[in-house]
Subunit: 297 residues, 2 copies
């Protein structure tokens, strides 16, 4: 039985790891009649085609979005405002817009304030890795992961339904959060761990010469894996969510101070309390993930 | 062709993840005529036998070490001083002693100051995980990992050679470091990442209710994996290496302060510098581990 695809033309803006995986997944499951990709550089355009992440790839915004039913922003979050401004001028009326960005509050507020003619639904698929580029894209990247949508009272119910259908069709479990609630939770669950990993890698690296890395075990490797992520992408995310980040980093520094104090006072009982609580929290986290497939940033 | 085993009787003090794996590995490769385990509680003694980690298990120190050629300390480092004191009274003359502990400076200095009649060689196999207990022990735990030995000018050359032969026979690459040099490097490469992971888990956990863990991706999971480690074991390690730990935690806090400052000043260029250096360091670490089997803490 042939079913009608969810969308006619889908346009993906930015064809990297996430955009490319989205293209591959939509194509594989025939969720759109055609998938277009908008690239910023000729080299990226060629790569997107070489890896068959999209049916058509172009550097021309107007051509990319002409006749599109859905536009997905998959560029670093730092460029969203500019792209959304351009889209509101050229995208067809009635076209849906969503994104895959890691920060939502300011973006959604800005969009709603500007009263764009396009229907926007914020999306954050919790997929990806420290890798980047369309060469790392995989059609099953979203399978078994969580995708957060961030509707507000002004979000079109129809648009929300269609965008969530897409994520579900790609194998995601969809969870709704308010835009600022999203930034608060994801600030702690994703942005703070990245900040910790980046900082830890620097602190460790300062005391090492090249050959010392052979002494590194899996503790260091796992704790710092995400510090191999793209610096420009993460600079943008940190800045876009900097109010939450500042609070979270200060809370983290407080915990480090408590630990230091236990060490200074040779306080074994205090240390046991400190480490015991962490260990119990980690076990709670493990219980949630135990039966899930391991994908997502 | 039958070869003579490296040792007659080997006694493992403490039969948990490391001690148990050592017993399994020595037995499997027939590196000793017999392997004894010394447990502190009847329950541990029974479990060690149930999992066949040792040939004989006892709660009686004198019986455990009688006729031993090699004694391996595999208890948490906090108990080493007491055990070494007891061993010096009952262990047979000429018996070698080594350990699998994560901190070396104070231990080795103390041992040498006391002029024990036994030959001691410090060992630190970089194997293990956040798990613990003999039920997690594996005969191949040491295969492909690094084992650091920490000889000094007073270490017997013969003893060093024999202990290093054991680790090599178990599949380890052996690297020698001075005891304090070991604590400095391992403080950064292992103890600081543990401290960061334990602290991060607390900071994240404070903002979460139980259901929020479903939003967690692999970034958080990997960054905090080792915070599921045994609190008592790590309290002892942190305290035993607390002078290095304090320096390292302060350096880490400095990095976090630099990051916070970039966020406060909305300084994208500063952030790019900060994150770029981390990312390059992480790539250097990845290059060292790329072809190695992933085992070790």
């Amino acid at each position: 039985m042939k079913t009608r695809p969810l969308f006619g033309k889908v346009t993906i803006v930015g064809i990297g790891l996430l955009g490319g995986s989205l293209g591959l997944a939509i194509k594989k499951r025939r969720l759109a009649r055609e998938v277009w990709g908008l690239a910023r550089r000729e080299q990226s355009r060629k790569k997107a085609l070489k890896f068959k992440a999209v049916d058509q790839a172009t550097l021309d915004l107007a051509a990319a979005v002409e006749g599109a039913d859905l536009i997905v922003l998959a560029t670093p979050v730092g460029g969203f405002t500019q792209i959304l401004g351009a889209l509101s001028l050229v995208a067809p009326r009635g076209c849906l817009v969503t994104d895959v960005g890691s920060v939502k509050g300011a973006l959604v507020a800005q969009w709603e304030k500007a009263s764009h003619p396009l229907a926007f639904v914020g999306s954050h698929p919790m997929a990806g890795s420290e890798k980047s580029g369309v060469e790392e894209a995989r059609a099953d990247l979203f399978q078994g992961t969580t995708c957060i949508t961030t509707p507000t009272g002004r979000t079109s119910k129809d648009a929300l339904k269609k965008v969530e259908s897409l994520w579900r069709a790609l194998g995601c479990r969809v969870i709704r959060l308010a835009p600022l609630g999203h930034d608060k939770k994801i600030g702690l669950l994703s942005h703070l761990p990245h900040a910790a990993a980046f900082s830890l890698m620097r602190a460790v690296g300062r005391g090492m010469s090249a050959g010392d890395w052979r002494l590194a075990g899996n503790g260091l490797r796992d704790t710092t894996r995400i510090s191999g992520s793209d610096p420009a992408m993460w600079a943008d995310i940190f800045l876009a969510n900097r109010l939450e980040m500042k609070k979270d980093l200060e809370a983290f520094q407080n915990d480090l101070r408590v630990l230091l104090k236990c060490l200074s006072k040779n306080d074994r009982r205090g240390l046991l309390d400190f480490l015991g609580r962490s260990s119990r929290l980690r076990q709670a986290l493990s219980r949630w993930g135990a039966s899930k497939k391991r994908v997502g940033p």
